[in-house]
């Protein structure tokens, strides 16, 4: 938030080596020293995880006053900053001790830097050089460990461990992991699992960045390895949920190698979830669309603009329906809507989903009416949390991590009452014990956050809605002090836990200063969202709380960009279908759309009725399979565009590498389509003008939108940047490091001549090591500072440690949401009469979310398929203990789960929180959306169980083979580097 960014922490004077510095008083001395861009080595301290004083690396000499020449050694990370304090970094005894610490660590650290994946971006290497430790006194042997197989994502090499405890502090303390720990003692401390096996946390990949050396490595990156300094990187935005974490994507030789965290003080801070870190694999996937289909080419080698124009020319004046996408950029969606016209635009949402979208717009409009929607860093400051109908850990994992931190606020406050600062991590945890910020949750399935809640209830969506309505009523009655009987009666009809839930929740909500309600669309229930609307209305009217904060989540990276484009004329999936049934439409343009809302039969109908199906996508799916024309589009790492996150924050992702032609950004294809169609809604004069000047980059596109659209929401920030292009500061920033060794010899197997640098049509970054330093742009392609080769170098670019970046002065654009879909939900949504729950009410099953399968793009990543299949060898279904007992089934028993069109076998587990008519489990294939499905259960035969296990094993093996195949192919492609001279349109390469 802008005002918080400006809020400068209180500064005091600290004399460091007799020079006065202004240092923040709110953090420890180490953070203070680092914030002055001075070098002080450290290991166990982490800006987000605080201090524990384990490694003893950050020792400095503290002097009593200017006459004190001896001073005493203190650990900077454990020392608070005080006004006028005097410390020495260069004092001999402190310097000697710091070197001794490194040399002690090195007694067991192997000399395997040349073969270590961390080499070149190793914090331990940097710190060793920094302390000056160069020669080895230790004569003994080094201790060795056995490593573990921690799954497909994280490699393990324990011999390199320097025992800083950061991994367990992140995995267990910060992220709430359960399957990782510390074993042994003395200099035989082992960090790992009890036994080999895939790490269960959604945040395991952060171990790679948190570990100061090469104990935990990115296994996918290591399998197709390159040094950090040889990567070509660009600042990007995660494409796998609506949180919008900032990432830095690295590429070499035409294949994407890895995703690293890109620090953003507002959003992701220092951490990403595994979906964000590893989900990028879909870019290299087997199913990528790399060739245009249905275009007759003149040249054998490449598709030209003329080819495309010719192929599309006979569609002039024909009516197309355009289906936008929540995973396509804002630009592409706007463009598509512009081309087909608002009356023929659809989001591919069913009627039900449109209602949800309408309710979301309504809530967002409310949420924005009182200011910006909370960022993750603001969420971490909340003192009351209510989550309704959303498994955040699975749908928007990074936000779940922030909620975990918010849960600590009660303990942090208690510690503050005892004079302990929040950065004193172990002390604060000692004091807070199990004390948590009030946290309540209503959902259909158990979630990983439940353990932090004060109370949670598992309910069917209708019951969740009912609970929210009763809660609203109860608050009304409490405020107005008219305890109307209706409310009492409704309350009395609830079960005891439900009553208790409501009464506790109200008490805690009233006491909260910054309460937060999080909800989302994963249950696809407009009714729940409408009920939350009533709750927020009630709280706002009665001015109960200082400020109620509302966060609404959705599934995809640009769900909210798409949501902002939906209005009353937007077609639902059913309407699209009826248009085709009535043969009113010539064809359909699917923009990065797998049309999940349509059944196979419905798709067949469209295929039969549509004369032309045009698909723009990066990965094959059932829609691209029967399209007439397929345009291969750029995946997130290959193009430029903007995503809108759950706050409405518009963030730009930048091209990391120029893909092989004819892969182009969706909006570039759409520009070609528009040009060919000439059926656009804009005045011909503008069209002519723009035709003379083809749109090459986002700046031109935005200018074009600003001129031709009545409501183009983005500011002209980038346009202005172009105007300042020659002022020097805005020279392109290098995508490669200064020491990138590869670029000039990339094509040496073809010719000895140095390949020309690819020209970027965008203005911000260059495909070269030549250009401005990374920090000259507020979005850094990668982070590096002299002496700091790891991501820890971000310290050098923050105003204050863990604060905003120095260059981060421009605020992001925010979309404002307007409830433009339907009229707001009728007030009739009163508390419904209680359903009579008969013994015969059907058992409804809800799938638990899935990290690896939950988002379409990342689900195409080879490692994610493998992990999914590994997980799906054994399904689990949860039933209430009473209903299991009634059937005489035991925990662990195999059951057949039967729906209308599917039968799978899963293992029974009892959950005493479940009501009788509700079941949940990890079987995602029973229903494609997270809406419930009626199931019947039967005991499974042993032979069926064995058969399913066998089938699943086969599927797993296939996924394994496929992953290996992809890897082999990538390695082969390294020998044939695509060279582009211009990263522009079709004819420019």
């Amino acid at each position: 938030m802008a005002d918080k960014k400006m809020a400068v922490s209180q500064k005091v004077t600290v004399y460091i080596d007799n020079i006065a510095y202004q240092v923040s008083k709110d953090n420890n001395l180490l953070a203070g020293v680092l914030s002055q861009k001075l070098n002080l080595p450290y290991f166990c301290w982490h800006p987000s995880m605080g201090s524990v004083g384990a490694c003893r690396q950050c020792a400095v000499t503290q002097y009593q006053d200017e006459n004190d020449t001896r001073g005493r050694l203190v650990m900077a990370c454990m020392t608070p900053v005080s006004d006028g304090m005097r410390i020495g970094l260069q004092d001999n005894s402190a310097e000697k001790f710091r070197e001794q610490v490194i040399s002690a660590m090195m007694t067991n650290h192997p000399h395997d830097c040349p073969v270590c994946a961390e080499g070149g971006e190793c914090h331990l290497q940097d710190m060793t050089v920094m302390t000056g430790h160069g020669s080895r006194d230790y004569q003994g042997s080094k201790r060795t460990f056995n490593n573990q197989n921690l799954g497909e994502l994280v490699g393990h090499e324990m011999n390199r461990c320097i025992t800083c405890y950061r991994c367990t502090r992140f995995y267990n303390d910060y992220a709430g992991g359960k399957d990782f720990g510390v074993y042994g003692s003395r200099n035989q401390v082992y960090f790992g699992r009890q036994k080999d096996g895939t790490l269960e946390s959604e945040f395991s990949g952060n171990l790679v960045e948190v570990c100061p050396t090469g104990v935990f490595t990115n296994k996918v990156f290591s399998a197709h390895y390159t040094r950090k300094w040889d990567l070509q990187s660009a600042p990007s935005v995660c494409a796998h949920c609506s949180v919008g974490c900032n990432t830095s994507i690295g590429e070499r030789y035409g294949s994407v190698r890895r995703v690293m965290n890109r620090y953003n003080s507002d959003i992701n801070g220092y951490f990403l979830c595994d979906r964000g870190r590893y989900g990028i694999g879909f870019v290299n996937g087997e199913q990528r669309i790399k060739k245009a289909q249905g275009i007759s080419q003149q040249s054998f080698e490449k598709v030209s603009r003329l080819d495309v124009s010719k192929a599309l020319a006979h569609f002039r004046g024909k009516r197309f329906i355009g289906i936008g996408s929540a995973r396509a950029s804002l630009e592409a969606n706007v463009y598509l809507k512009k081309i087909v016209g608002e009356n023929d635009f659809s989001a591919g949402y069913s009627n039900q989903q449109m209602k949800v979208a309408s309710a979301q717009q309504n809530l967002l409009q409310y949420a924005q009416s009182s200011g910006e929607i909370l960022s993750l860093s603001d969420i971490e400051k909340c003192d009351f949390i209510l989550v309704i109908g959303e498994d955040i850990t699975k749908s928007s994992p990074r936000m779940a991590l922030s909620i975990r931190q918010a849960c600590r606020n009660a303990g942090i406050d208690k510690a503050a009452g005892m004079g302990i600062a929040s950065w004193q991590d172990s002390a604060v945890r000692t004091i807070s014990g199990k004390l948590n910020t009030p946290f309540f949750s209503l959902h259909t399935t158990a979630t990983k956050l439940d353990e932090l809640t004060e109370q949670y209830l598992l309910l069917a969506p209708d019951d969740i809605e009912h609970m929210v309505l009763v809660l609203t009523k109860a608050i009304y009655s409490l405020i107005n002090e008219d305890f109307d009987n209706a409310h009492e009666k409704q309350l009395a009809k609830l079960s005891t836990p439900q009553q208790l839930f409501i009464s506790c929740l109200i008490t805690k909500l009233m006491a909260a200063e910054s309460p937060l309600i999080v909800t989302g669309d994963s249950l696809a229930s407009a009714k729940i969202l409408a009920a939350i609307g009533k709750l927020t209305d009630c709280l706002a009217q009665e001015k109960l709380t200082t400020q109620l904060n509302l966060v609404v989540l959705s599934g995809a990276s640009n769900s909210f960009g798409l949501l902002s484009l939906l209005d009353k004329s937007t077609l639902s999936a059913e309407q699209v279908l009826s248009q085709f049934r009535a043969k009113k439409v010539h064809g359909i343009i699917c923009l990065e759309q797998e049309l999940a809302a349509f059944t196979n039969d419905e798709l067949a109908l469209i295929r039969a009725s549509a004369e032309t199906i045009i698909v723009l996508d990066h990965t094959h799916c059932r829609v691209s399979d029967f399209a007439d024309i397929v345009f291969p589009v750029a995946a997130v790492s290959e193009g430029n565009g903007h995503y809108v996150n759950y706050q409405g924050r518009v963030q730009r992702y930048n091209q990391v590498h120029a893909p092989e032609l004819p892969i182009l950004d969706s909006w570039k294809w759409l520009a070609l389509i528009e040009e060919s169609f000439e059926s656009s809604t804009m005045p011909t004069a503008i069209l002519r003008k723009n035709k003379l000047e083809p749109i090459n980059n986002l700046v031109q596109l935005h200018r074009y939108f600003a001129e031709s659209l009545s409501a183009w929401p983005l500011s002209n920030k980038e346009v202005n940047q172009e105007a300042n292009k020659d002022s020097g500061k805005n020279q392109p920033v290098a995508r490669m490091t200064k020491r990138a060794s590869g670029r000039t010899s990339q094509a040496a197997n073809y010719a000895i001549h140095e390949a020309k640098v690819t020209q970027d049509q965008e203005l911000l970054y260059s495909f070269s090591m030549e250009g401005n330093k990374p920090n000259t742009n507020n979005a850094m392609p990668f982070t590096w500072a002299p002496g700091w080769n790891s991501n820890e170098s971000i310290n050098h670019y923050q105003v204050d440690i863990e604060g905003p970046l120095i260059n981060d002065i421009e605020n992001d654009d925010y979309l404002s949401f307007v409830h433009s879909l339907y009229d707001s939900t009728p007030d009739g949504a009163e508390v419904t009469e209680d359903k009579v729950e008969s013994e015969n009410s059907p058992l409804v099953y809800f799938p638990q979310g899935s990290l690896f399968k939950g988002e379409w793009q990342s689900a195409n990543t080879a490692e994610f398929k493998l992990l999914t299949h590994e997980h799906e060898k054994h399904f689990t279904i949860y039933l209430s203990s009473t209903s299991a007992e009634r059937q005489g089934w035991n925990n662990g028993q195999w059951l057949k789960i039967i729906t209308e069109d599917e039968t799978v076998i899963g293992r029974l587990r009892c959950d005493e929180h479940l009501p009788d008519h509700l079941a949940y489990g990890d079987i995602n294939e029973l229903t494609n959306r997270n809406t419930g499905v009626c199931i019947t259960l039967a005991e499974a035969k042993q032979s069926d169980v064995l058969l399913q296990l066998e089938n699943r094993q086969d599927l797993y093996q296939q996924a394994k083979d496929s992953q290996q195949k992809v890897l082999q192919q990538l390695k082969k492609f390294d020998q044939h580097i695509p060279i582009r001279f211009v990263a522009g349109g079709l004819d420019e390469a």
């Binding site: 003893r56 002690a104 230790y138 003692s185 005892m418």
Partner: protein
């Protein structure tokens, strides 16, 4: 009675068959607890203990009254129910050369139970734990017996002896780490966590076991309480001839004529303990040096024999009183081997939290092993000095490594010749001359 007044702690010790509750009561037991519960307010007991000058017997010598005084007590108007609090007896006696607590635990378990009642009453603790060294099987059995008896006779449990005071007491046998002797590591272990010392502040008195106010006292410290209650602060002070109050259980081991332990007035000289009580050095041996208070104290030399064994005097002589258990080095045993043996123990028992201790102690073991085996180099002495400096106070997370360094540091000062001879001659001269004996003592390896 006069005898009791001289040796209050050990007077009732019976290692063969410790006193049952009724026997203990008939010998004057539980009078202190009774007096505290019925006649004194908690504040009065606290003042009494403060006035008595009782200091912690676990090694650090921190005044007990001051430690208790930090515990948050009742609100000003006394009505509110007190916050949950814990009292923990530190019976994790693992310091090499120290066995005084075992003597009390096995010999007179009821004394500790009574002490815990008094202590918990003083700080209004609701629950107590005796954190017992895992190997003390017999003590565990006897303590449990005593606790069961106390419950039966309403010395523990609800409304003890008809008062408003309730207190539960449990024995917890340690899974076995030396570091559990450090009070916050002990608390972590008691909570089921890794035994790693906590960052301070918060001190346990504010936020200890399960986040509640907690006091951890050594067994010997606690055992003084019934007697202070019974006989008063002035009596307790008068037990000792010098500035420290009370008695102390001193012990001696090594090659002395009669190793053992003796309860003596605080401030008894080393000479008296060693020559009067331990019978002097074994035949044919001369005193070379001694560790005055367990393995983590500096060596003292024969010239220090007349130093009184109290906190201040021993500190002035350049060492620490520690646990008061003397470990004696004779002239036929190798000081290098002795130091190596000790530091091996500390390297083994490092919790692995901070770098100097975790990686420094094994490094010292590596260097000392080479020197002892005759493969030392001149530079190794510099390495040892550096390591001592590296692990010194203020540089580590807790006191384990500085304690571990104390014998090494003082050995380098007092027995440097031996180190140099090892290096110059490429062998350990003691091993050759007294091969048999060293093998028996197990000091030298290979």
């Amino acid at each position: 009675m006069t005898e009791l007044l001289k040796r209050p702690l050990t007077q009732l010790v019976n290692l063969e068959s410790p006193l049952s509750l009724s026997q203990y009561i008939s010998e004057g037991g539980y009078q202190g607890a009774s007096k505290a519960l019925h006649e004194y307010s908690p504040k009065q007991v606290l003042d009494l203990v403060s006035n008595s000058g009782l200091k912690g017997r676990g090694g650090a010598g921190f005044p007990t009254g001051m430690k208790w005084g930090c515990v948050p007590m009742f609100a000003d108007n006394d009505d509110k129910a007190p916050e949950f609090k814990y009292l923990v007896a530190n019976a994790d006696e693992m310091e090499p050369g120290t066995f005084k607590d075992r003597y009390l635990l096995e010999g007179v378990p009821h004394q500790l139970v009574e002490s815990m009642i008094i202590g918990s009453y003083t700080m209004a603790a609701n629950r107590g734990y005796i954190f017992l060294r895992g190997e003390y099987h017999l003590a565990a059995k006897r303590l449990q017996q005593a606790i069961d008896e106390a419950y039966q006779h309403n010395w523990l449990g609800k409304n003890i002896q008809g008062t408003q005071f309730s207190f539960d007491l449990y024995v917890h046998t340690s899974a076995g780490r030396y570091i559990c002797g450090e009070e916050t590591a002990l608390i972590n272990a008691l909570e089921g966590r890794r035994a790693i010392p906590r960052a301070k502040p918060p001190f346990p008195q504010m936020s200890g076991l399960f986040g509640k106010p907690t006091v951890v006292n050594n067994v010997e410290t606690l055992s003084n309480l019934p007697h202070i209650l019974k006989h008063g602060a002035a009596w307790f002070k008068a037990l000792s001839p010098d500035s420290d109050s009370g008695t102390k259980i001193y012990a001696a081991c090594g090659r002395v004529k009669t190793p053992g332990l003796w309860e003596l007035p605080m401030g008894t000289t080393i000479r008296e303990i060693l020559y009067q009580h331990a019978g002097g050095m074994a035949d044919g041996l001369k005193l070379r040096g001694l560790l005055p208070g367990g393995a983590s104290t500096d060596f003292l030399l024969p010239e220090h024999l007349d130093t009184p064994m109290d906190f201040d005097s021993i500190a002035k002589a350049g060492s620490r009183l520690g646990t008061g258990g003397l470990i004696v080095l004779d002239d036929k045993s190798c000081p290098v081997a002795m130091v190596l043996n000790l530091i091996k123990f500390f390297a083994q028992e490092s919790c692995g939290w901070c770098t100097p201790c975790r990686d420094g102690t094994p490094w010292a073991v590596e260097v000392l092993t080479r020197i002892e085996n005759g493969r030392g180099r001149k530079e190794d002495l510099d390495s040892l000095h550096n390591l001592c400096d590296f692990m010194w106070l203020g540089k580590t997370h807790c006191a384990l490594a500085p304690g571990a360094v104390e014998p090494l540091k003082s050995a380098l000062r007092y027995f440097l010749d031996d180190f140099e001879q090892h290096i110059d001659h490429g062998c350990c001269s003691y091993k050759q001359s007294t091969n048999q004996q060293t093998k028996l003592k197990g000091h030298c390896h290979g």
